[in-house]
């Protein structure tokens, strides 16, 4: 029971202030329309800590809450965050949890998950978007992924020093 609380309930409580930061402060550090996604950093953290199943479920919960509060199309962030949580959980290794959370590996996983998240979010929310491959992969997938990964660096350093 205690494990279940740590795996699902606690991450949801932590999610709310992060969502708050995402809406209030993150737009201030946007480069054009490219913004880092703090929610994905949190999602990757829990996916690498508790595994793929937790990552997938948390992704969908984070996504639906984001959709409800953002005013956007309901279900779109849920879809993309579920995929992001699942893909991050793919790198989960029971024996290397600490290593995964405290090294460059974490940043790489954030980059992959964030890129996938941006890509699927675009695919679902666009109606008449110019879906050229370069635009889709580079501008809408990789750039937000790189920015989010860069923002996750202090998070890794904090994890390391906390120890």
């Amino acid at each position: 029971m205690k494990i279940r609380i740590f795996k699902i309930i606690l991450p949801i409580f932590i999610f709310l202030p992060v969502l708050f930061l995402q809406f209030i402060f993150v737009p201030m550090i946007a480069i054009g329309s490219i913004i880092p996604n703090l929610i994905i950093i949190l999602l990757v953290y829990y996916s690498l800590k508790f595994g793929q199943l937790t990552g997938t479920i948390l992704g969908s919960i984070y996504g639906i809450l984001f959709d409800i509060i953002s005013g956007g199309i309901l279900g779109t962030a849920m879809f993309s965050n579920t995929i992001a949580g699942f893909s991050a959980g793919y790198f989960y290794n029971e024996n290397k949890i600490e290593f995964n959370l405290e090294t460059m590996f974490f940043i790489v996983v954030v980059f992959i998950s964030s890129s996938l998240n941006s890509l699927f979010y675009l695919l679902l929310t666009s109606s008449e978007i110019k879906l050229t491959s370069s635009y889709l992969v580079f501008e809408s997938g990789l750039l937000p992924g790189i920015y989010t990964a860069a923002i996750s660096i202090p998070f890794v350093i904090f994890n390391k020093t906390k120890k």
């Binding site: 708050f20 809406f23 209030i24 737009p27 946007a30 054009g32 329309s33 490219i34 913004i35 793929q52 199943l53 997938t56 479920i57 992704g59 969908s60 996504g63 639906i64 959709d67 409800i68 509060i69 953002s70 005013g71 956007g72 199309i73 309901l74 279900g75 779109t76 849920m78 879809f79 579920t82 995929i83 699942f86 959980g89 979010y121 675009l122 679902l124 929310t125 666009s126 109606s127 008449e128 978007i129 110019k130 635009y135 501008e139 809408s140």
Partner: protein, 278 residues
């Protein structure tokens, strides 16, 4: 058999959960227009926006917001009047003296603060600090002193959501103010574009684009932007026009909601037509 099922579920539980959740999210996408779902969203939006508003109020404590709001309103009213006068000037050229000047500049504006924004290339939504209690309604246009920002899409008691120009679902009928060429403006993820305009039409880079009389949602003559580029499609018959908006939606902090005057004649006609189609 049960052992096989159990083994199967254990081995593929991650994939099964993934597929189920993806199907669920796709189902939820189809529920977007459901009234009950809308009510839940408006409730959550209200709670979240209240927190955001408190933070914003703290950060704006030392600003003379009332004075700024007043100036913004004045600027917006002047902008709308100037645009109307510009329209009359073009019409005056055309009619050569048969013009009768009628002043219609009694715009009612509601000022609001952007409480929260979702900055994204495709999903431009803002939450603003005015709601139904301030007589904000769904469908009202949102402007600044420079031009059109978007349209109100959801309204709760104290807050509203607006869909900005930079949202792939936003579409508006516009016209070239100089040549009166009509088109539909939408966001393609990168630029504002008027697609498939015949190349023979008189459109030039630098022309001002305003909301057209054909728009049934947004009242006409609100400035939108200026034509920045014109490129022909492969066939050469049609061209796509790029429009640089007057308002940079990513930089604004305050907006104004325009209480449009109801065009009862047009509305009743639309109701008749849509009723007939049903």
């Amino acid at each position: 058999m049960s052992k096989f099922v159990r083994t199967f579920l254990n081995s593929f539980k991650e994939y099964i959960v993934l597929i189920l959740l993806l199907i669920l999210s796709l189902l939820i996408i189809t529920l977007n227009e459901n009234q009950k779902v809308k009510n839940v969203r408006l409730f959550s939006l209200g709670i979240f926006a209240t927190f955001n508003k408190i933070v914003l109020d703290i950060s704006n404590y030392f600003e003379d917001t009332e004075h700024i709001e007043g100036l913004l309103k004045n600027n917006a009213q002047l902008m709308l009047q100037v645009n109307e006068l510009r329209d009359y000037a073009y019409e005056l050229d055309e009619l050569k003296g048969q013009f009768e000047f009628k002043t219609k500049s009694d715009y009612k504006l509601i000022s609001a603060q952007i409480v929260s924004r979702l900055v994204s290339k495709i999903s431009g939504y803002f939450i603003i600090s005015k709601g139904s209690i301030d007589s904000v309604e769904i469908g009202l246009p949102v402007i600044t002193d420079k031009g059109l920002v978007g349209i109100v899409t959801d309204v709760s008691k104290n807050y509203s959501t607006i869909r900005t120009l930079e949202n792939s679902l936003f579409k508006v009928a516009v016209r070239d103010q100089r040549s009166n060429v009509d088109g539909v403006l939408n966001w393609d993820g990168k630029d504002l574009q008027i697609k498939n305009v015949p190349t023979t039409e008189d459109i030039e880079v630098g022309d001002r684009v305003i909301v057209s009389e054909l728009s049934t949602i947004i009242p006409p003559a609100i400035p939108v932007g200026v034509i920045s580029n014109k490129e022909s499609t492969i066939s050469g018959i049609l061209s796509n026009i790029k429009v640089k908006p007057f308002v940079d939606v990513n930089k604004i902090k305050n907006v104004l909601i325009l209480k449009k005057k109801k065009d009862f004649e047009l509305d009743s006609l639309i109701t008749k037509v849509s009723g007939g189609l049903k």
